[in-house]
């Protein structure tokens, strides 16, 4: 499933991020794997973000896009 939010923090060494999902009380989705297709320069905190979440939880959430 897809979820939308705002990029809250980025860890460039692990290429993971924290995303504040829309519609949630303040709670970040942490350790979101960031697509290597997104340049580091585009990972600006505060930008909108799209996250894919594995329905059954098999895989870590994946940051697919920022804008």
């Amino acid at each position: 499933m897809m979820a939308w939010g705002v990029l809250a923090a980025v860890n460039l060494s692990t290429y993971t991020a924290s995303v504040a999902l829309a519609d949630s009380r303040p709670a970040y989705l942490r350790d979101v794997v960031v697509s290597r297709g997104i340049p580091a320069s585009e990972l600006v905190v505060g930008r909108r973000a799209a996250v894919w979440i594995d329905e059954a939880g098999g895989s870590a959430p994946l940051l697919l896009a920022v804008w």
Binding site: R25, P26, A27, A56, G58
Partner: protein, 687 residues
């Protein structure tokens, strides 16, 4: 198979049985009492710190800090009487920190502790007559200059009314994370020296409460240790030799977390009564700021440090400042008090249910793997039920949200015998009139319905270190349900550790289905408060029907059809497992179920997942049915040993239960069971 009385066992399946029906209505959900609050007091005190405790004689002792910096106390001899609230008496000067009132259920010893006006000392007074008279206030400790005590809470240790522990939070006074928790003991009439917390300091603690349950259990609100110092609500234990060695601190466990400094938690308070209940304030400091008190209940068998709390339920208390909603339990009277700075409420625990068995005209019960419910028709010819659900009615308990317990059975040897159906929650009342009759129709939903009605109020996320079983338990606890293995769950329930996420707004039933989607385990309700998961390979006990001396099968259909999958293949990262039924493939061609699950970490796990899914596919194939007189102990997934008219025997598994009883028309008292034939190569399958 549910246990039923021997007398019912003896007559099960016989014709011409006289139905016996008992219908109970309880103000609870899955066994957890839902208090019906009545207002006791509405005053005009300003919102500052306060506390309360109940003495052995039932009197309530309150303490508060007023707007002028004075500690005031009040003794309310009969707190259930609204006229006795609330005779304040000034006692001493105080800092604006919530005082601690420490009482004991079997003693008239009462202690009040508060922070002095220099902000870093703790003062104390004691009463030996239940709060009627007080000793001269004295100082028990003083912290270094520049520090500040920000919260305190105390409790008697175990059964002793002479040994108590006071916990307090100390801000060292500098910038950043420098707040610690400390503890000081009172015994033999004197106070010891305080000892400090052995973990890293936090940015702040702004609220504290404590219970003793073998160890000292604290709930603390504050902000975390690393910048930007995010708000948290924690639980932690201070060992007293039960789970934790005496005198040791356990780590803080997050009960609630916020990722915005504008959304905070404050003023926690908890109380052990019929269950452990917790109150705290949620505080939003941004646009449209608010403070809202919330109540949560711990599941009966859960540890205070666990996440097995019901969802936070807002209650009608929104103070202008961080004033707690204290909870006090009077065990002898079964009363729970909810006390705010200027308000108080009381709820009396029901000991007897509302009994409506005499009024039952008919009922239908439906239980399927995806949910079901109960519809009961009640006789209302005398109009007595017309006010059901209204506060002043004798039938006030019968309202949406109540727990409905229907037990049914039969009369045998002149006495009624009953077997319980699973509990349901009332969702609707329908007053129906036709042809001179008046009926009240009560509709109740099962645990799936309750779970569907719950929606995540925030993001829930598990980091890949918790098992599927424990994630399921956290999830179901939100509505008060426990989660446990039914004999044995599949190995995957205890070995698979997914990165599971429930986004805000998703309902609980969808979340549970997602969690279990790639697992073979079957779910059913124990009828009271626990959802059970079971490996389908484990056969439960069987009923025998259709044979001589066995319950008769009135009608039936055995269906042999193709399952939706006859080959299942599961993959993880670099691991693979599969299971197949060659005979079924020969007949139907290959029907695959293929999935990838990165949480499968070994070929063995993948093989278990595939094998389990294949068995589950068999159970979800075309179902036949049986119509018979009620098997009162039958449950989902039970196996029936069915003797057919031609004398052949076949084992079938119950995948759905419908039961109906109509007292108006003799003879309608039957079950229709949806059944799936076990395949020949399952244990006990083809006979």
């Amino acid at each position: 198979m549910r246990a039923i009385p021997e007398a019912l066992q003896a007559v099960q399946g016989r014709p011409q049985l006289r139905p016996a029906v008992r219908l109970e209505v309880w103000s609870r959900r899955f066994g957890l009492w839902r208090p019906a609050w009545q207002t006791l007091y509405a005053g005009s005190e300003s919102a500052h710190g306060h506390d309360a405790g109940l003495c052995a004689d039932g009197a309530l002792v309150r303490a508060r800090v007023d707007e002028n910096g004075y500690l005031q106390v009040a003794r309310i001899p009969h707190p259930e009487d609204p006229d006795e609230w609330c005779p304040w008496q000034m006692l001493a000067t105080a800092d604006d920190v919530a005082p601690a009132v420490i009482t004991h259920p079997t003693s008239s010893e009462v202690h009040i502790l508060w922070v002095g006006t220099i902000h870093r000392n703790i003062r104390w007074t004691r009463s030996t007559d239940g709060g009627v008279t007080w000793s001269t206030p004295a100082q028990i400790l003083s912290e270094p200059s520049g520090s500040r005590i920000t919260a305190l809470a105390g409790v008697f240790r175990g059964q002793s009314p002479y040994e108590l522990y006071l916990f307090y939070a100390l801000d060292a006074g500098g910038a950043g994370a420098d707040d610690v928790l400390k503890v000081v003991r009172y015994a033999g009439g004197s106070w010891g020296t305080s000892s400090a917390w052995s973990y890293g300091p936090r940015y702040s603690f702004n609220g504290l409460d404590v219970l003793w349950q073998g160890d000292f259990w604290l709930v603390a609100a504050g902000r975390d240790s690393a910048s930007p110092y995010l708000p948290r609500l924690w639980t932690l234990a201070y060992g007293d030799g039960w789970e934790y060695p005496a005198g040791t601190w356990a780590a803080l466990a997050e009960l609630e977390a916020s990722d915005s400094t504008q959304f905070q938690f404050a003023a926690p308070a908890w109380c052990a009564g019929d269950a452990v209940r917790l109150s705290y304030l949620e505080r939003w400091d941004g646009a449209n700021a608010y403070r809202q008190a919330c109540l949560r209940t711990l599941l009966p068998a859960a540890s205070l440090g666990s996440a097995r709390w019901t969802d936070a339920e807002p209650v009608g208390y929104a103070p202008a400042a961080d004033a707690a909603l204290c909870l006090c339990w009077d065990a002898s009277a079964g009363r729970l008090y909810r006390i705010g700075h200027d308000r108080a409420w009381c709820a009396v625990q029901e000991t007897e249910p509302l009994e409506l068995g005499e009024r039952v005209v008919a009922y239908t019960y439906n239980e399927m793997p995806a949910g079901g419910g109960l519809v009961v028709m009640l006789d209302n010819r005398d109009g007595a039920l017309s006010q059901a659900g209204q506060d002043d009615s004798p039938y006030a308990a019968l309202r949406p949200g109540a727990e409905l317990r229907l037990a049914r059975g039969a009369w045998a040897a002149g006495a009624p015998y009953y077997a319980d159906l699973p509990a349901g929650m009332v969702t609707a009342l329908e007053w129906r009139e036709s042809q001179g009759t008046s009926r009240l129709i009560v509709r109740a939903e099962d645990w799936w319905g309750v779970l569907r009605g719950w929606r995540a109020g925030r993001l829930f996320s598990w980091d890949g270190t918790r098992t599927t079983a424990s994630i399921g338990a956290d999830l179901l606890a939100q509505v008060g349900l426990d989660f446990a293995a039914d004999g044995a769950g599949s190995d995957l329930m205890s070995t698979r550790t997914p990165r599971f996420v429930v986004p805000a707004g998703q309902d609980g039933a969808t979340a549970l289905r997602r969690l279990m989607a790639n697992l073979p385990d079957l779910l059913r309700f124990d009828g009271y408060g626990t959802v059970l998961f079971r490996d389908p390979a484990v056969l439960p006990a069987a009923f025998a029907v259709g044979g001589a001396g066995e319950p008769a099968v009135l009608e039936g259909a055995l269906v042999r059809g193709a399952a939706w999958a006859n080959l299942c293949q599961a993959s993880g990262d670099g691991v693979f497992g599969w299971a197949l039924e060659l005979d079924a493939i020969q007949e139907m061609g290959t029907r695959r179920r293929v999935w990838y699950d990165a949480a499968l970490l070994s070929a063995a796990q993948a093989g278990q997942a595939a094998g389990g899914m294949l068995r589950r596919a068999g159970l979800e194939g075309p179902a036949g049915w049986l119509r018979l007189r009620p098997l009162w102990g039958v449950e989902l997934w039970d196996v029936l040993d069915w003797t057919r008219r031609d004398g052949s025997r076949r084992q079938v598994r119950v995948v759905g239960i419908q039961e109906r009883c109509d007292m108006r028309r003799r003879g309608i008292y039957e079950q229709r069971l949806s059944v799936v034939a076990l395949s020949d190569d399952e244990p006990g399958g083809g006979v």
